[in-house]
Symmetry: C2
Subunit: 247 residues, 2 copies
DNA sequence: CCCACGTTGCGGTCGCGACCGAAGAGTCCG
DNA sequence: CGGACTCTTCGGTCGCGACCGCAACGTGGG
């Protein structure tokens, strides 16, 4: 009830305020937050998978998914008896990344793994992974830094591809065209490396190209990726990266 | 209790998840959201001002401020019997901007003002305002676009100053030096214009310079700003902006 | 065709947190 | 040194929402 600002303030402040609060409320629940972070791998999960992942009853998960879809964070698609769910778009993914980065400045001790299995999984993720639709982890950072050093990417005065960078992508067979409202290049703060890696249309194109041409492959069905021998050769040739930098 | 992911997933997933949920919970309350949006003007408010602004009791506001400070979104500073409160840093400001932008895609009809006074205030804000520590509104967009056209700023492949842009700032008497983790230039989506304006260190330097040299002045004690005749002359000379573009 | 499984809808329970008012601590001023 | 002001602390109330179990629905496989 006390939703009336007693001071005349920002116009449309009411709508923006309640919109902001409503959006934040979607992520304010631990279970929904877990859903969104899981979906940050860019793939589609079924409702049941998400329920098991978060450790809640299927009915609970279903209700949460409804709210997230309603709020525009997720999109759902029915296929047979499954309901596949994914993040709505790159903007949402980027928003959640930013929030997670802000929420986890605990970069001192990244939660020591308890088991050998967990340790090796953590290592694989730190080495290389996908972040929504682009590359992250040491792999993502290494590639981004190499592109910067080679003058393909400019990070000192912002974050943008250079003309040489545009040509590089074209030569690669993955020409970039401005599309919609998504920027060609943007920095995405890496969780494990605490430095920005390449995101945006260029990051997505590079990741897609790397997976399609076999430069890297997914490990199992996780978001972790591994560079292949061909990938090492290609990156050495195109970016001057020594093979050892990618292991 | 169901905090165990039944699927082995992201390492440190627990911590990140609860951190994300806790951070979002801070903004999930309408009153706290109103506080943060008010503080987006970049200035320090007293606890009482925020309480009146949001229409809650002082005791309620005090508790909210505690939580926001505890969560790292705000910093507080006691001065006499007042407690001045501001956003913690530019990163927090940017995060809230992004969230607000995502939360308010209602760009069809921006909440028609009810009174003449409100209409003129809304008009002034749309013409020019500060957004945390840089310029926004039509003023911010116009300047940003002019800088882009003049080759000082590159937006087609990302968002970065050019070398000419660096020189432009140096000639202005506001040389830019990379500092800490804040980027020199970054795009900040404008609420009213739906296009990015210049933020980051360069945006802050430009705004500071504009206010110090009298290119623009604040209207009353709001975040709205107005271009002065000197400002028109300077911007015409430095960016080729016709005076009519700024009214 | 029926059974198993993934998914959804419906009560019902329970705990967290947003709110206020009143009283207390600290500060500035006459 | 007392009064006006700002802010904080403390109890106590109340409503929202996260959760589960159970039952129903639909799909796909045997």
């Amino acid at each position: 009830m006390p939703s009336m600002p007693s001071t005349p303030s920002m116009p449309s402040s009411g709508r923006v305020t309640s919109g902001l609060a409503a959006l934040a409320a979607l992520l304010a629940d631990e279970t929904r937050a877990r859903f969104c972070l899981a979906l940050l791998d860019g793939r589609a999960w079924t409702a049941g998978e998400l329920a098991r992942h978060a450790g809640v009853a299927p009915s609970t998960a279903s209700a949460h998914i409804d709210r997230l879809v309603e709020g525009g964070l997720l999109t759902a698609e029915r296929q047979g008896r499954h309901r596949y769910v994914r993040l709505a778009d790159a903007q949402v993914a980027h928003l959640i990344e930013d929030l997670a980065a802000q929420a986890a400045p605990e970069h001192g001790r990244p939660d020591r793994p308890r088991t050998l299995r967990a340790a090796s999984a953590a290592g694989a993720l730190a080495r290389g992974r996908t972040c929504y639709d682009h590359l992250a982890g040491r792999l993502g950072i290494t590639v981004t830094e190499a592109m910067t050093e080679r003058g393909l990417l400019r990070q000192d005065t912002g974050f943008a591809l250079t003309d040489a960078g545009l040509r590089w992508f074209a030569d690669l067979g993955a020409p970039l065209a401005p599309s919609g409202r998504r920027p060609l290049a943007r920095g995405c703060l890496d969780w494990t490396e605490r430095r920005p890696h390449l995101a945006g249309l260029a990051g997505a194109a590079l990741c897609r190209h790397a997976l399609e041409t076999g430069w890297c492959v997914r490990i199992g069905s996780t978001r972790a990726v591994q560079v292949t021998p061909e990938g090492e050769r290609a990156l050495a040739e195109l970016l001057g990266l020594p093979a050892t930098a990618l292991r």
